[in-house]
Every structure is written in structure tokens, then in C-alpha cells.
Symmetry: C2
Subunit: 310 residues, 2 copies
């Protein structure tokens, strides 16, 4: 077994896309590679706690890809296989210095009619990560949960743009709402990220995390404000999946200790930060998959030292 978990660790459920990506950076163009928020999120979570996945793959999703998830002890009961079509495909191009990202091609394929039905064995899973999918699907997952401790959801500019009502009605159902610093102004009309975070708190979620990529993250919580810098990455290859890895690790850590108070949520944010820093050092889930709890703990300790005043 690659992973061993504390005896009292709870499980984390990760819902999102399972995808094939084609990614072009200033230096490299990949072929078809494994991607999707559920893949990044579930593998990241698996370093901390037993992890379940809900997603859909198509008839082109070979056993070798399934094996990459199985290897991380991820419960695949909720991974649907739709033989009627291909797996969700996304192609994107990053500009100079990764300052911009442009979508070149999106083929929804089997994801178009994806219904995230939870296996009965998942319905009481206490820690739930709703990866970046349509907010109506995020609602649909929560409607099936009979018991939970902590629900976190990610989103993207597209849903803020075209599905604002669904997203707004989701927010009060969340313990943690996660978004990027360019999405927070879209949602709130407030350019200052501190004011934006505080404003989102009034929209219903119990806490809000604004991610600033290489500039760290801001956590808004009823018990206070927390901010932490990013891990100093010097070998950035591909930022795709950084946010999903961040949230997956954050949720896996909370599940592993089964505590969700402010102090532990802060630690979870730092675990998310350093796990994301591993993901971006290679394409696809490659470096995330070959990490270990020890490499994550090493970066956690290093990052704490980098901000230490002593």
C-alpha cells in the first residue's frame, strides 16, 4: 500500500471532472495527458486520508489511467464509465511567463450528460470537495448527502458569468468557498481582495479562500484572517491542476484529523499550498503522483521556516 492513514482518519469525497488535456506552454506542447479537477483533487487528498472519487470517463479512458488512481488507494466506486462517447477533453495554451491561459478546445463528450450520482457508500462521507463543475451539479451532489462535516467548493469565471444564481444559492451550503483572485472581483464587483473576501463571507459560506497563485492565499473566517505566501517554486512547468491539488490536500488533511476549527483550517491551507507547489513542477499529475507524504511534510516544514521570524 502506498498510503497508510491514521486509524481515526475520516474519508474525503472528491467530485469533479476527469479529463484528457492537451497543454501548450512557452516551452512545451504535451500530447494527450490525464487531467481534470477530480484527478488532481483525489490524488492530492489521498496523501492524507481515504479518498473517494465521483466523475465520469468515456470509452477512451484506458485501464492505465484508472490504475493511476487505484494506485493511490482511491475508492473508484463512484467513477462512472460511459461507453457512448469519449472522455472530456480540454486544450489550453499558456502565454509568456504563464501570465495568461487561453482555452483552445473544449469537447465535453460524456461530461455533457454527467449526472453525479453518489454510490450509497459515499452518502455519509464527512468531507466533500466539490471541484470546479457547474454549480447545479455541485448542488446535485449535496442533495444526495445525508451527513457531512465539511463541504468545500471551487468555481471558475465561467460559472460566475453564466450561472451566477446557481452559484449564489450554493454558497450558503458551503463550509469553505474557494476561488482565484481574478474571480473574486467578478463575483463581488470589489477589486480589493480583502474587501472582496469579506463581502463573499456575507454571501453565505462559513469561510472563504482566495488563491493568488505564486503570491499565496488569503483565508477569511469568522474567527479571523489568515494569509500565507506560496512555496518558492523555481521549476514551474504547468500550473494546470494547482488549485485542484490545493483543495484536495486541504480537504484530505482536514479529513485525516477530523477537525475543522480555524487553527486546523490554517494548517490545511498550508498543506494545500505546498501540495500545489509539487503539482506545478510537471505536466499532468506526474509530480503529484510521485510525491509522498514525506515530500509534502518537507515542503510544509520548509515553508514554515521561510516565514519564521526566528
Amino acid at each position: 500500500m502506498l498510503h497508510s492513514y491514521p486509524a481515526n482518519a475520516k474519508s474525503a469525497l472528491v467530485v469533479g471532472s476527469v479529463a484528457f488535456d492537451n497543454i501548450k506552454t512557452p516551452t512545451t506542447e504535451t500530447g494527450t495527458i490525464l487531467g481534470g479537477s477530480a484527478c488532481y483533487g483525489s490524488i492530492a487528498s489521498s496523501y492524507f486520508a481515504p479518498t473517494q472519487i465521483v466523475g465520469v470517463v468515456g470509452n477512451d479512458f484506458g485501464e492505465e489511467y484508472v490504475e493511476r488512481l487505484r494506485k493511490h488507494s482511491i475508492d473508484l466506486t463512484g467513477l462512472q464509465r460511459d461507453e457512448s462517447g469519449k472522455t472530456f477533453f480540454w486544450a489550453g495554451v499558456y502565454g509568456e511567463n504563464f501570465a495568461t491561459r487561453e482555452t483552445i478546445d473544449t469537447q465535453l463528450n460524456v461530461f455533457e450528460h454527467f449526472d453525479p450520482t453518489l454510490p450509497s457508500s459515499y452518502q455519509e462521507t464527512p468531507y466533500v470537495m466539490l471541484g470546479n463543475i457547474h454549480p447545479s451539479l455541485q448542488h446535485r451532489v449535496l442533495d444526495q448527502m445525508t451527513n457531512h462535516s465539511f463541504i468545500a467548493a471551487d468555481t471558475m469565471n465561467l460559472w460566475i458569468d453564466i450561472s451566477r444564481d446557481d452559484l449564489m444559492s450554493l454558497l450558503p451550503r458551503l463550509d469553505l468557498f474557494v476561488l482565484n483572485d481574478d474571480e473574486a472581483p467578478m463575483l463581488t464587483g470589489e477589486e480589493n481582495p480583502i474587501l472582496a473576501g469579506k463581502k463573499i463571507l456575507t454571501m453565505g459560506p462559513k469561510s472563504v479562500l482566495i488563491k493568488k497563485g505564486p503570491h499565496g492565499a488569503l483565508l477569511f473566517h469568522p474567527d479571523g484572517y489568515f494569509t500565507f505566501p506560496a512555496y518558492p517554486v523555481t521549476n514551474l512547468q504547468d500550473p494546470t491542476g494547482a488549485g485542484d491539488s490545493f483543495l484536495g490536500a486541504l480537504m484530505g488533511y482536514l479529513a485525516s484529523i477530523d477537525k475543522t476549527d480555524f487553527a486546523n483550517l490554517k494548517k490545511a491551507v498550508v498543506y494545500g499550498t505546498v501540495t500545489a507547489s509539487i503539482t506545478v513542477e510537471a505536466f499532468s499529475c506526474d509530480s503529484l503522483e510521485t510525491a509522498s507524504r514525506e515530500t509534502i511534510e518537507k515542503r510544509f516544514a520548509d515553508l514554515l521556516a521561510y516565514v519564521s521570524l526566528s
Copy 2:
């Protein structure tokens, strides 16, 4: 007396421009206001240690402006008055969300022939801040120093562009070299700020500070790497002078304790961070001038709490 200093505090010397600015932001256009790196730097430093200023003003620099410096117990022996012309003038416009800054007008006036001659009483001042002026003038100041403990210099894109040789020969004379995150790639050809900082360390300065504005700062030192987020400003009025206030407070703090090891330099960076956060909440030196050591200490403690995991 506004300030009282520890009995063993050393003095800090601040060299730079004394200016009149006219600043336009998305919401406001100022009239002629007090500015310049030496003003921001010396007032910031004055909260921590006895501070001396070297700069030049013209025949339009009224006593009311001198009084604003004198009020902070700043030693004005080195403030030259050139009756032959007007004070250096700069007009700039900030774009939406302060994402851009454009120079509209620069009138060097008496600054054109400024020779930073040090009064003999300054020549052994141990802590020296070389504000953002031409690197040949920064050299000229150091040439007159007979004894010093810690030299820090700021710069700007213009000098990297047109006076690279002077700047490069200055670097080995510095204990701390300070620049912005958009200037570091210009100097090094390296876009990654971590790699850029490490590269600048090889160019001669004993340590390097890269400032990222609202995203905090990165310190590169032979004893290690340090990073700290910015203070969460919600009332940004004008970023002008933030960097000068940062470095002035940093130097004033070091002078006040007369220690320059890595641990104390890290504390000095946090003092710089929070002092800069005060400056940007008003135009000119207005909020910096009306601050107090207590308000600075309050932000210092708050910022430490914001990054605390406990």
C-alpha cells in the same frame, strides 16, 4: 518631542529626492504635494532611530514643508537649499486598480545638478539608505563615508535601463539591495523571482529584497530565504512612496537595535512592510507623518497574527 529612541540606538542616514508631486489616481487628482524618496524614507526611519537626511530643495520649498521633517526630529544639516531654481517635480497617473503608473511630467529643476555632499557630522553614520537616485550619486555618497555598518540601496527601472554599469558596480558595496518584482527580471533576464533574487545575490550585494507590493516581499540572504505577505490594506489611496517608506522603516529599525543579522533583518522587513501599508492609505506623507510607533507596532503584531498557524 514626537520621538524617543533607545539610548543605544544608532543613527540612520537617508539620501534621495525631495520632491513635489502631482498625482492622479482613478478617483482623485492632487495638487502639488510633498514627495520624494528622502522624505518618505526619513520620516519612516524617524519612528525608530535618529535620522539624517541628504537632499536638495529649491526656492519654492516653503518653511511649512521643512517643518514637516523637523517635526520628526530629522537632522536637516544635509538638506541643501538651492535658490537658483525650483524643487524637483514629478507628475504621475495611476491606472485602474493601480495596476499601472505612468509619468506625465518630470522637471528635474535643482535636482539636475544635485551633488550629495555629506556634512562631516554624517560621514560616520552607520546605517545608510540610498534612496532611488542615479547610481553614480549613490556611489558618490558611499565615497564620502568613512565608517558604516549597513548600506542599503533602492533603484528603479530607469537606472537598470540607462545606467546599468554604474548600478552593477554599486552592488558589491551594498549590504542590502532592494528592487521591485518587475525590476528584478529587467536586471537579471530571469522571470522567476526566486531565481532572479538568487542571481542578484551572485552580483555582489550581501542580501537582496524583492518587493511585490500587495503580495509581500522576498528576502535572499546567505543564511536563508525569507518571505512575508503584505499587510491587508483595504483603503489604498496612493502607492507612491510605499517602497521608500518600507526601506526607511527597515533601516530605522536596524539602526535602533544596531544589529544586522538575518533574524533581525527579517524583523526589519516586517517593520518595513507594515510602515509601507500606512503610507499608501493617504496621499503624500500624510498618513505616514501622523502615524506613531504604537500604530506601527500594532500592525506589526496584527500581521504576525495573520500568518500565525496557532
